[in-house]
Symmetry: C2
Subunit: 351 residues, 2 copies
């Protein structure tokens, strides 16, 4: 007598430099994984074919498991209704590629597409910083090269009308600020990302508050990494400390607007720059306090409410694999939604 096969899901994290694959069981334990360079220049169909071959290899090693589907986290913008990619800045020639259908054709498996920032948010919600509290709503802000964000409301990723919900990185935190590549002035992404820290480092180095140590790094012809500025700040260089204080202030303004709009119980801060948490968090919390009446009103000192605390803002706990794990969750979530449809909409009652 043989046991029925256990379900597994295939997660794909599509990045500009590497494509990562993972097989997950129902408990979201990683059964196998594989990573390969993303051959962007070879074109999307070649990459899909390579991914399909790698998935077949991985699945062969798990004959007792039954693949229920593929989840893929992709850089945005994506049209989630059609599964077609938009104009991806780091993927020249990939625009309008029907990623979801192509992957389905190449593998025969159902495919659920999601933005990479939303996939990471799902992972932090279910398995990371949001998992202990049983919360049904939260946001995750990913501080990477840019600033991504994913918003979970009442247990579901909030997509908005065109799947563009959660572009908090492109909300303005300074209407007279620097012009972002997206065309908006003062986007959060211009300050609270890796590129933002590089930009702020130049500005501080050139100002009266610049130090010789900061200028030595910033003026290097070969460029520099934000990590170097963080190390300088950890060694108490006042100019480097100021860089992260400014970054934290801008981030705090963006979070304050998000809290005023949605009154969320939790915001998780992830991505590579979140490792500098100790350097930017004090200024971030100060700005959230200064700019969010909702944050201040629900604070216990105001005695407005009896609840234990205000919005929590915490660093992410999963790290760089959050996107892959979130992608691996998608097929299970899709299955759950299918077996528990939402109640019918009560439109008719008010006609």
């Amino acid at each position: 007598m043989s046991l029925p096969p256990s379900p597994l899901s295939v997660g794909i994290d599509l990045g500009g430099t590497s494509l990562r694959l993972g097989l997950y069981d129902r408990s979201l334990d990683l059964l196998s994984s594989h990573s390969m360079p993303t051959r962007v220049a070879a074109g999307p169909q070649s990459v899909v074919d390579e991914a399909a071959a790698a998935i077949a290899d991985l699945l062969r090693a798990h004959p007792r498991h039954h693949p229920i589907g593929i989840g893929i986290g992709s850089p945005g913008p994506i049209n989630l209704q059609t599964g077609v990619l938009g104009l991806l800045p780091n993927f020249p020639g990939w625009d309008n590629f029907p990623l979801r259908d192509a992957l389905h054709l190449a593998t025969g498996l159902p495919v659920t597409l999601e933005s990479d920032a939303n996939a990471a948010a799902l992972a932090e919600w279910k398995c990371g910083s949001g998992s202990t509290s049983g919360l049904q709503s939260m946001a995750m802000i990913t501080l990477g090269t840019g600033v991504g964000s994913g918003i979970i409301l009442d247990g579901k990723v909030w997509h908005g009308m065109f799947g563009m919900g959660g572009e908090v990185g492109h909300a303005t935190v300074d209407p007279n600020g620097l012009l972002c590549a997206c065309g908006t002035r003062g986007c959060l992404e211009m300050y609270a990302s890796a590129n933002g820290v590089i930009r702020l480092s130049h500005a501080v180095a050139e100002s009266q508050q610049g130090t010789d140590a900061l200028r030595r790094i910033v003026d290097r012809p070969s460029g520099f990494m934000p990590l170097e500025i963080a190390q300088l700040a950890e060694h108490s260089d006042p100019a480097a400390i100021l860089v992260f204080e400014r970054m934290g202030s801008y981030l705090g303004i963006g979070l304050a607007n998000l809290i005023n709009t949605l009154d969320l119980p939790l915001i998780v801060i992830g991505g590579g720059m979140a490792r500098a948490w100790d350097l930017f968090a004090p200024a971030m919390f100060a700005a959230v306090h200064d700019y969010s009446v909702v944050y201040r009103l629900v604070a216990p000192s105001q005695r407005l409410y009896q609840e234990p605390d205000r919005t929590f803002i915490r660093p992410a706990t999963i790290g760089p694999s959050a996107g892959l794990l979130g992608a691996g969750m998608l097929p299970f979530l899709a299955q759950d939604i299918k077996s528990n449809p939402a109640p019918p909409i009560l439109e008719e009652r008010f006609q």
Copy 2:
């Protein structure tokens, strides 16, 4: 043989100057209404008792109807979980009053409490600017003395953790801007409200762009109304026109951040100041375009998506009775939710 009684709901719009009552049938037709001054100084219990007496009078005139409950729209902040009022600026001595329980005790009817801005948003969604499109998500921004807002997501008012969701009026649109009474710098409410127009009128009058006509109104010792500035603008006074252009720009920045965050299909602009739509809307649309990459990306000219249009931004159609109508909808909505509970949360699956 007698027909069973038809259901009706009682709506209450609690304002700082008047308290309005309305009886609504299932089709949301107004059966009867009554208005009285809100005797704020007499204290909340007296006002509740007066309201209860007036409701009893109204109900006596409709013996063929059965009241299913009371909906009340109240100024915020309110703790919607407990039904207790917060610190209402225009209701001194009312803080911590258990409005929901007091109204239930005085009438014997179930009571649903909601913020006035959320009640107005429900009315515009079901019966006003949002009703023709069958949309399940939208926001309404109410430009009154201050700026209120209500957000409807997937067919429900979004309350957030403490019922404070939708405080878009206190999101900052200028981190270096004027200090709001809430304690935040540059709140949208400081510019896009009746008081904001008064403030902007002073600033323009005192600037090089000021005109004699504007200064005559602004310098009047007895004060002035925003409507007078609007009339001046309609007569082509360049300074008065500039006031509304500035107001529209700030409003547009606030809307752009909301669109970037939630990618909503519709934003409805209501409240007294919305009557100046023709004066502020062009600058508002320009700022939304300048500050929202989501708005720009979904625009047809970008050809990213095939959908017919971007976020619609429209004036409200119901007018000042939206709050009362929305309050009257609450008991019917509460009944619908009870008879169609949401599916169980799928928490366990991922443990």
